[in-house]
Amino acid sequence: MTRLIVDIREKRLAGRPVLGPIAFTVDTQEVVALVGPSGCGKSTLLRLAAGLDREVTGTVRWSGPAPRLGVVFQQPRLLPWRTVRQNLDIAGAGGEEGQRLLERLGLAAKADVWASHLSLGMARRLALARALAMDAQALLLDEPFASLDEANQRLARAVLLEHRLRRPTPTLLVTHDLAEAVALADRVLVLSPGPARLLVDQPVPDAARTDAAVAAETVAALRVWSGVSPV
């Protein structure tokens, strides 16, 4: 089983610092939420973890051999010239699990439709299905529930929670919604506005999943941090 080890001193893009000192690990079965204002460098951090960008002062690495990654990008990044099912197959996310997730996410009727014909909400659900169905050894999710309507957001969150139980993997979840972070993650990391520093690294109490009051309390405690500006 693999872990993600992040120890960044600085990350620059086009000469400008976008990430400051950030150190944390994502354990083998842990879901860690990254929360921060938009543009603070969350997606940059995710790209580093995905190995799509390697230029960084410090380290971002996985323990052991590079894991198979399920990635949800900020944009769906589907192949518009392939059908819904082909998009899953090509990514190694076809088969029974792919079919099950299509059904679960309300896309079964669209299996043979060109991906170019999907609405944005459907495309986002397909991107989630692709990441979850491929039997990934680690998940990197960049605001996977953005631009979904409320019902589909609930559905997609439930699917992610189910997936956690069936196949626990180290997961990095980028979001700017504290309630979402508390509902889905074991730990919440709050980042400052860019260049992002780590403001707080807080475990979510187990009770927060069953007790709405505890969840609200945790969110409130984190909200204090997310309002802090970097000095």
């Binding site: 995905a50 190995g51 799509l52 198979r68 990654l69 990635v71 990008f73 944009q75 990044r77 192949l79 518009p80 010239w81 392939r82 090509i90 990514a91 190694g92 060109w114 991906a115 170019s116 014909h117 692709r130 491929m134």
Partner: protein, 252 residues
């Protein structure tokens, strides 16, 4: 487009061809010279040449040369364009050579290949292919430079591998560029094949044009040219357009 509008468009197209033929016919009759034959005379010559078997024979040979040069130029040109668009080092190394080839007159290339390799079939086909290759490479290179980086990144994240990336991510995006190269290639190649035949082959449409040039037989020259124009147009209608519709079927 509604069917009524489409029908109207077809009608106008048909009428424009008819008008063209009538103008040609009238002008030819007015000129009353064997050097400017009317449409009817050229069509009659075309009919006789088809019946005698001479035209199908020579057109067939020319078509085979067009097909071979086309496949060579498109294959090598696409591979070169892909490599140059993908790897900056390859681009830097080969760009000057490509520029040279791009601006080298077709005639010079043909003459050089005939001088170096003799008046052979291989020299003829290579000369034509080399004329078309650089434009294909340049077009495909443009396509590669315009590839969507986000999708390539997705492919890398999901470890698609080289073959799958090429097939599912790169080639679908290159399709419009490949079609553009194919179109311009077809019209360019058959014209160059004729020059190659005229200069150094003893059969094919280009050879026939040379023969009838020496006889000042304009009706035959026009008959062969017309036959080839019709064939290229049929390829466009029967193969290229359906293929392009198929390739674009996923578009909204």
């Amino acid at each position: 487009m509604s069917t009524a509008v489409a029908k109207r468009a077809w009608l106008i197209r048909a009428l424009s061809v008819l008008v063209l033929l009538l103008v040609w016919e009238g002008a030819g009759r007015l000129a009353a010279s064997p050097l400017a034959p009317p449409a009817s005379a050229v069509l009659a010559t075309l009919g006789r040449e088809v019946a005698s078997g001479a035209l199908p024979h020579h057109v067939g040979i020319t078509l085979a040369r067009v097909a071979m040069s086309f496949v060579l130029a498109m294959g090598a040109g696409t591979a070169l364009g892909l490599a140059m668009g993908w790897w900056r080092a390859v681009d830097l190394w080969l760009d000057s050579a490509l520029l040279l080839l791009l601006n080298l007159p077709a005639l010079v290339l043909i003459v050089l290949l005939y001088v170096w390799f003799g008046l052979t079939e291989a020299a003829a086909i290579t000369a034509v292919a080399l004329n078309k290759l650089p434009t294909t490479a340049v077009t495909v290179r443009e396509g590669v430079r315009a590839l969507d980086g986000d999708l390539l990144e997705m492919g890398r994240a999901y470890r698609l591998g080289r073959a799958a990336t090429l097939r599912h991510i790169v080639l679908p995006q290159l399709q419009p560029y490949l079609f553009a190269a194919t179109r311009s290639g077809l019209s360019l190649i058959w014209k160059i094949v004729l020059v190659v035949e005229l200069l150094g082959r003893s059969d094919g449409v280009g050879f026939q044009i040379q023969v009838y040039f020496q006889l000042f037989d304009v009706a035959h020259i026009l008959a062969y040219a017309l036959a080839f124009i019709l064939i290229i147009q049929v390829i466009e209608w029967a193969a290229l357009q359906p293929l392009e519709r198929w390739a674009r079927r996923w578009r909204v």
